[in-house]
Subunit: 457 residues, 2 copies
C-alpha cells in the first residue's frame, strides 16, 4: 500500500490512485502492457486537467479509471466484494483498523532516549481527523516502561494532611459519581526537538506528543473531601505512580480541587495499559507528566515536593541561567496537520488546509492561517464542539498556484493570549530550553509540491 | 478475570476484589489456607461494614486487603510492576485494551439471524463510559457480511437528475472541505426483541445496536452541487452500497441537502472495515440502515425507490394492518446502563445511576429518573457536551435501601417530545412492530441485588 494514502488527503503521485490489485486484475483479464500504459497515461493526463480546473473532483479521469464506465467487457466485472458474502459479525470480538491503514502507526524517533522503556511513541497527527485520538494511536511516554496491572489488586491511597487517610479499590472509585470530559494531553517536551531549528521532518515528530480523548473519572476534590482534607494547611498534593519509576509530581491545591479527575475511562472504555490502566490522574491543561499514570497515591502537603521529575527534569533553563520550575500549564498552541512536512501536493489547485489548536487555559477563540510566511493572515473556520482545554479542529480553503509557499497557523485563546512566533518565544526563553515550545510552526511548500519543516526569522 | 469488573461499576460478589493472581502470590509466599480464608472472610466482613455506612469508599477493608498495610512481611512486598522495567514504547504499533478487559466484547445474540453474515453484534453499553463508543466495540449489522475494501480501487458515482454525473475517487473526496461531527447511530431494530415483553437479559442486547462516534466527511450537499443537481426536479436520492447485498435506501432531498455526510473518518481515524471503510453515508438522526456502508453510488431522482430494504423490510406494521414505510427518524429515547439487567448490586447504599439519552430530532433537554417504576421522577444531571443528534450521558445519585426497586429513565428532546411508556407506544403502534421501539426501559432490582429486564403496565 502507498504511504501517502494512509497519511490522509495528500497523495504523493497520481499513479497511486491505480492500485496494484487493479493493475493485476486488468492484466489477469488479458489486457496487455499497452492497455495498462494507456490507463496510466490517461490518468496522468486527467490529473493535469484537474489541476488546471482548480477544484479537483476526479470526474475527468472517471471514464479511464472506473471499472465498467468505458464499456470494455474486460473491466465491466464487479469487484469480488460486490458479488460474495463477506465476513460475519463479531469476526473479531474487538475490531481493528483496515489492513490498508497498517502504515498509520505511532512511531518512535530512534535514539531519542537511551532505552525504549523510557522512550516516546508519537501520534500520527498527519493522518487523523476531527479531535478524538483513536486510543490505539494515543502517544506514549514512559519513564520505566508500562505494565498491564491487574485492577483487582490495585489500590489508591490518600494520605497526608487529611483527617482520615484512606485506601480505595478501583471498584470503590468506580462506584462514585463520575464525570466525562474531553481534554487534550500534551507532553511538556512536545516540539522540544525544534528549539534550535527544524530537526525532524513531519508533524508526527514535531507535535505528535499530543492526543485528545474523552476521559471519565471521579473528581479528585470529592476524594479529598471524603478523606477530610485540612483546608487550612493544605497547599499542594503529590501524585505518585505505581510504575518502576515511582513517578511523582507536585500539583497546587487550588488546581487539585478544581477540575482534576482520578480517571479510569478513555474514549468510552477503560484506559489502555500504556496510558495508566487502571487509573491515572487527569490534570486538564497541564503538561502530560503531571497526569500520573498507574496512580497509587495522593499525599496532601503544605509545600512543593521537589521530586526528581520537577527538580532535575521538566524545568526550563532561562537566558539568565536560572530555571523555571513547576511549569504546569501548556500555553496556547496550534499546528497545521495537512499539508504538513513529508507530504507532497500532487498538483496545483484547491486544498483544504486543516489543523489543531489548543490551550491549557481554556477555549480556543480564533485561529488565523497564513500561506505567505506570516505577512498576511486569514481567519480559519473552527469546527464544533469548541471545548475548554480540548483540541479544536480548524480548516480554511486554499488555492495553491504552484509557487513556493510557507504555511503557518496562529491560535488565540479565551484569555486573549496569542501564540508567539519563534523569535518572540526565544526573546523571552532563550535557546537552551527543552520544554514548552509553543511557537508558530512553519511548513514550506516547494514548487515540486514537497512540504518541509522550516523556521523563518 | 471476573465478568463483573469488566462490565463496570457493579460487582457481582466481594471475592472478586481478590484476584487469583494475588491469591497465588500470597500462597507462593508461604501463607496457608487458613490465612487465605481469613483474607476472604475479612473482606466479606468489610463489605458488610461498607454496606452499612452508605457511601462505600473501601477504607474499611484496606487494612485487610492492601499489601503492606497490616505489617505482615509476607505481603509487604511491592508488586512486580513497581520494581521492574515494563514494556517499551511502541510495543504494539496500534494499541489494544488490557488483557483484563477481554470480556468486554461486542456479542451476537445466537439464532437471531440465519447467517452470521447477516447478523448483529451488539455494543456492550453496560461497560462503557461517557458518549464515545470505542471503534473496536461499535455495533455491527450487515446484510451480506463485511469486506476490507481497497480504497485505491473504490469509487463513488453520483448520477440521475444532475447536469454532470461524476465518479469520485476516495482521494478526490478527502481533498474537499470536510467537517467532523459527533453523532449517534442506532439500528431501526434496536430494542426490537422487547416489543412483546422482556426477551433478553441485558442492556447489551436490549439497546446495544447503538453507538456514537465523531464522524468526518464531506457534506453530500457539496457533492450534489458539484454535479449540478437539478433542484427543480430532485425530490429524493438513492444511496447504494458496494457489498454483496447492494444495500439501497431512499433519502428525501431536503435531508440529503441538510446535514448528511459522505464520511471516511470515525473517531479520528479511517472507518473500520465493518463500519463501511473506506466511505459510508452519515445521516444524523436517521436509523442505521440509511447510513449506507461501502457507499458506491448516489442517484438523484424524483420519486422514492421502494427498494427491498424499504418495502419488505424496515417497515412498521400498524394495528389496522397498514404499514408505515420510509420511517427514517430515530425518536427520543434513553436507557439506564448502570445498574442494568444482568448486573448485581453487591450491597445497599450509594449508587450513581447513569445512562444514555438521544434524539434523532436534535438535542436532549432533560432526562428524568424513577426508582419506583414511574410513580416519582427526579431530574438527572446531563454531562457536557450536549450535542444535536448525539448521545448525552446522564447520571443521578441513589441510596439503595435494599428493597426491590424499578429503575426507569425518561428523555425529553428540544422539540418537547417526551419518551413514551411502553403502553403509550403500543396504543399507537400495536404489538406487531419490529422497528422503532423507543419505549421507557424498566430494570427491576431484587432485594438480592440482582437486576432484571422487566416491563410494567
Amino acid at each position: 500500500m502507498s504511504n501517502s494514502r494512509s497519511y490522509g488527503r495528500i497523495q504523493s503521485a497520481p499513479e497511486n490512485f491505480i492500485s496494484d490489485e487493479l493493475i493485476a486484475e486488468i492484466n489477469a483479464d488479458g489486457l496487455n502492457d499497452t492497455r495498462r500504459n494507456f490507463l496510466r497515461r490517461s490518468f496522468a493526463a486527467a490529473a493535469g486537467v484537474v489541476a488546471a480546473s482548480g477544484l479537483a473532483t476526479g470526474n475527468a479521469n472517471a471514464a479511464a479509471d472506473h471499472p465498467g464506465l468505458d464499456g470494455d467487457p474486460a473491466i465491466l466485472k464487479l469487484p469480488k466484494h460486490s458479488t460474495s458474502l463477506g465476513n460475519p459479525v463479531a469476526h473479531t470480538p474487538y475490531g481493528m483498523p483496515s489492513r490498508h491503514e497498517a502504515n498509520l502507526q505511532r512511531r518512535e524517533s530512534p535514539g531519542l532516549t537511551k532505552k525504549r522503556e523510557s522512550g516516546v511513541a508519537f501520534t500520527p497527527l498527519q493522518g487523523l481527523f476531527g479531535i478524538i485520538t483513536p486510543s490505539g494511536l494515543h502517544f506514549e511516554r514512559h519513564h520505566a516502561g508500562w505494565h498491564d496491572i491487574d485492577p483487582a489488586s490495585h489500590r489508591l491511597m490518600i494520605n497526608g494532611l487529611v483527617a482520615n487517610a484512606k485506601v480505595y479499590t478501583v471498584g470503590d472509585l468506580m462506584r462514585l459519581p463520575s464525570v466525562s470530559r474531553m481534554h487534550f494531553i500534551e507532553c511538556g517536551a512536545n516540539t522540544a526537538m525544534d528549539w534550535g531549528g527544524p530537526a525532524v521532518p513531519s508533524v508526527q515528530y514535531t507535535h505528535g506528543m499530543l492526543s485528545c480523548s474523552e476521559f471519565t473519572g471521579v473528581p479528585l476534590s470529592l476524594l479529598l473531601e471524603d478523606c477530610g482534607i485540612d483546608k487550612s494547611k493544605a497547599k499542594f498534593v503529590l501524585a505518585e505512580g505505581a510504575d518502576g519509576a515511582s513517578l511523582t509530581r507536585t500539583i497546587p491545591i487550588e488546581r487539585a480541587l478544581d477540575d482534576v479527575l482520578v480517571a479510569w475511562g478513555m474514549n468510552g472504555e477503560m484506559l489502555r495499559p500504556e496510558n495508566g490502566y487502571p487509573i491515572r490522574l487527569v490534570v486538564p491543561g497541564a503538561q502530560g507528566v503531571s497526569w500520573v499514570k498507574w496512580l497509587r497515591r495522593i499525599e496532601v502537603g503544605d509545600a512543593p515536593y521537589a521530586t526528581r521529575e520537577e527538580s532535575t527534569q521538566y524545568i526550563d533553563l532561562m537566558p539568565d541561567g536560572s530555571v523555571r520550575q513547576y511549569t504546569l500549564i501548556q500555553e496556547c498552541k496550534s499546528v497545521i496537520t495537512t499539508p504538513s512536512g513529508g507530504q507532497i501536493l500532487m498538483d496545483k489547485g484547491f486544498y483544504n488546509i486543516t489543523g489543531l489548536a489548543w490551550s491549557g487555559r481554556g477555549k480556543i477563540t480564533r485561529v488565523d492561517v497564513s500561506v505567505d510566511g506570516g505577512r498576511n493572515w486569514k481567519t480559519a473556520r473552527l469546527e464544533s464542539p469548541v471545548l475548554s482545554k480540548c483540541l479544536t479542529r480548524f480548516n480554511i480553503d486554499w488555492q495553491w498556484d504552484g509557487k513556493p509557499a510557507i504555511l503557518q497557523s496562529r491560535a488565540i485563546d479565551e484569555t486573549g493570549y496569542v501564540q508567539p512566533r519563534m523569535q518572540e518565544l526565544r526573546a523571552v526563553r532563550g535557546t537552551r530550553s527543552v520544554y514548552h515550545n509553543n511557537a508558530i510552526q512553519s511548513w514550506r511548500v516547494e514548487s515540486s509540491g514537497e512540504v518541509f519543516n522550516v523556521q523563518i526569522s
